[in-house]
């Protein structure tokens, strides 16, 4: 029995050594400046996290080729949080404990990001989430920033799309039951009423649902003309296909995190005429945007989504702040970020006092299997 316990203990010891390896591969101290990226690299939302790390890697590569920052090379450390709070909490502890890591890009979902952010705040390490849009996220502290708009601003644009641009008054809402989904749906409901529309029905589904037939039957019999879908592409895609089988005339409005090439792949011809508000439009003619898009496509073989572009800018903001500060001290970086005006692929970014970025929206729709800008 003792032998078994001994072997188990050795096993556990070995495991911790191997787990530790990941973040200690190049431990020639402070030879490099480390930036962490944390997001879901496996699981349902893997492509968002992969997009974050790809985009950040591209930005870091461009800086490194130009000689790095403060004469040092930059190294990216990537963590997989599987989009779960448990993993995110562990990762946050590890990042906070590694003195070489100067800033964190990430955590994808608002709920997950808000599990990790108190740890970052406590350790005094800069955290920029490219995606968290929950109103309370940036309120966690002065080290917590978001390079994304707060949801009520985006929801207002989505509601305007539905009621003014598409000119429909009977609004149905489908939302996913997550922190983000529930609060966005509530905000959207109020905004629809204020804009002169009527919310005819609101259906809530568990994230990852693929069978929407019951919800569609309800929304359809409530005579909805337009559905605002509060969910990712993996909700919006099948929902669009199934709804258009029942009512081909239905208009759909999504949110910017459903703005992804994957949506068109998934819903094919049923994706036609879905509208979105978005900060970043990959077909834009602006020079810095098109060169980013072509560099990204050349390296990773897919086009960057809105959130990917925001991750790219987040990395740029951090590196620019280190350069301006002239030191890689964690709190000096934070001070610089709050002063910075950064001109990136998602437009000009400036953070408000509470850490929220203020951005302008473009309106995008899908036509002939392509995203095009709505004027």
């Amino acid at each position: 029995m003792k032998k078994v316990i001994g072997i188990l203990l050795v096993g556990i010891l070995m495991m911790t050594v191997f787990v530790g390896c990941q973040s200690q591969t190049t431990s020639q101290e402070s030879e490099v400046i480390k930036i962490a990226v944390a997001g879901p690299l496996t699981g349902d939302f893997a492509e968002y996290g992969t997009g974050f790390s790809n985009a950040a890697a591209l930005m870091v590569e461009q800086w490194n080729e130009a000689g790095g920052v403060l004469g040092q090379q930059i190294e990216l450390v990537v963590f997989d949080d599987k989009n779960t709070g448990e993993e995110a909490a562990t990762i946050a502890e590890r990042i906070a404990g590694d003195k070489d890591i100067k800033a964190v890009i990430g955590h994808f979902a608002s709920g997950v990001a808000m599990v990790a952010s108190p740890t970052y705040q406590e350790a005094g390490i800069l955290n920029i989430s490219p995606s968290a849009s929950h109103p309370d996220f940036s309120g966690e502290g002065d080290f917590i920033f978001r390079n994304n708009t707060v949801i009520d601003i985006e929801a207002q644009v989505a509601v305007n799309l539905a009621i003014d641009t598409l000119d429909k008054k009977n609004v149905g809402i489908l939302s996913v039951r997550t922190d983000w989904g529930t609060s966005t749906a509530d905000i959207t409901k109020d905004l629809v009423e204020k804009a002169g529309g009527t919310v005819v029905d609101h259906q809530e589904v568990v994230d990852g649902t693929i069978d929407f037939s019951s919800n569609i039957t309800r929304l359809h019999s409530a005579d909805a003309d337009v559905i605002i879908v509060v969910g990712m592409y993996n909700t919006l895609g099948p929902f669009a296909s199934q709804y258009k089988a029942v009512n081909p005339e239905i208009e759909l409005v999504g949110f910017s995190n459903a703005y992804s090439q994957q949506l068109i792949n998934l819903a094919q011809e049923n994706a036609e005429n879905i509208h979105f508000p978005t900060i970043f439009f990959h077909g834009s003619v602006e020079e810095n945007v098109s060169s980013f898009v072509s560099a990204y496509e050349a390296k990773y073989g897919s086009s960057p989504s809105s959130l990917t572009a925001q991750a790219y800018d987040s990395a740029g903001i951090i590196l620019k702040a280190i350069e301006n500060a002239g030191t890689a001290d964690r709190s000096a970086i934070k001070d610089e970020v709050s002063k910075l005006v950064y001109d990136g692929v998602t437009g000009e970014t400036k953070f408000e006092d509470n850490g929220d970025a203020i951005k302008a929206f473009s309106l995008v729709k899908i036509e002939n299997g392509q995203f095009i800008e709505v004027k």
Binding site: T42, A46, V206, S214, T217, G237, S241, Q262
Partner: protein, 291 residues
């Protein structure tokens, strides 16, 4: 509206029935709940997706998928379960092994095909048929039709053919069947093949219905089908069918009247209720083995 939901639920229920049959077949022969069955179903859907992508048409794709998934079923038995049987391991060991196998398959699918939700073309879509205010999708009719034909075929194999007789003999008593000259190992292999094949068909039907494929699609569907099998009386074929329909319809009604967030809970509420009230299931007789 109620009739619409009933139609939605019946189509879903037929697919659960097809998956549930896989649990029942294996349980009947080996007295083992094969928890890898959900992943086998996801595997079948992925294979169909790959072959549909090669543009030979849906029927050859389905046949390839059935053969490969059936072979996966056999492989699970030969590689993971047969060695345990040979060593006379405890039943719980085999049960846990199937859970492990399920994760292996699921993760392999993620590694090979990526974890994102992928597109699957719609099967047999000729729009909707409207009867009064009720609208029935042709895809739904197709699902019900195909499942019915398959379930009848499976019942025929088990009730009327020689190999079915052998299966029933093995179900009664392994040793006696073996003494009567039945190749028990072959029967087990054949059962796993049938289970895999029915899972492949269920996976393809569901993917064609919702037009999506993803690696962990089998997890919840598998658990719900398991509830269906227990509800009908595990090991009993027609029980699995009735159980599947009940679970499908109640899920559809729960989604419509209690809200989408309760849909997944219903199957498990049924499972717990059955285990408390009538552990042998609806069609189980006294003396039948309980789960």
């Amino acid at each position: 509206m109620i009739l619409d939901q009933l139609v939605n639920g019946l189509a879903l229920g037929m697919v659960y029935a097809l998956i549930a049959v896989g649990y029942s077949l294996v349980f009947g022969i080996l007295r083992l709940i094969n928890f890898s069955h959900g992943s086998v179903y996801a595997f079948g859907a992925h294979m169909a997706m790959v072959f549909v992508g090669m543009e030979y048409g849906i029927v050859p794709a389905l046949i390839f998928s059935i053969i490969l998934t059936g072979m996966l079923g056999i492989a699970i038995d030969k590689l993971a379960l047969a060695p345990l049987r040979a060593k006379n391991s405890k039943r719980i060991a085999a049960l846990i092994t199937t859970i492990g196998v399920s994760y292996i398959i699921q993760n392999l699918l993620m590694i090979v095909y990526g974890s994102e939700t992928k597109f699957f073309p719609k099967l047999f879509d000729y729009g909707n048929i409207n009867i009064g205010r009720v609208s029935i999708g042709t895809t739904q009719l197709f699902i019900v039709g195909v499942s019915l034909v398959l379930l009848v075929l499976l019942s025929y194999i088990i009730k009327k053919t020689k190999i079915g007789l052998a299966m029933r003999a093995v179900e009664q008593n392994h040793k006696a069947a073996s003494l009567m000259g039945i190749d028990v190992n072959f029967i087990v292999t054949f059962t796993f093949f049938l289970g895999g094949a029915s899972a492949a068909i269920a996976g393809t039907l569901i993917s064609g219905y919702y037009q999506v494929v993803y690696p962990n699609m089998g997890f919840l569907a598998g658990l719900k089908a398991f509830s269906a099998a227990v509800l009908g009386g595990i090991g009993i074929l027609h029980g699995a069918i009735v159980g599947g329909l009940i679970v499908g319809v109640s899920e559809s009604f729960a989604a419509a009247y209690l809200g989408g967030t309760y849909r997944d809970a219903v199957a498990f509420v049924i499972l717990i209720a059955v285990l408390l009230v009538k552990p042998t299931g609806l069609f189980g007789k006294k003396g039948n083995i309980k789960v």
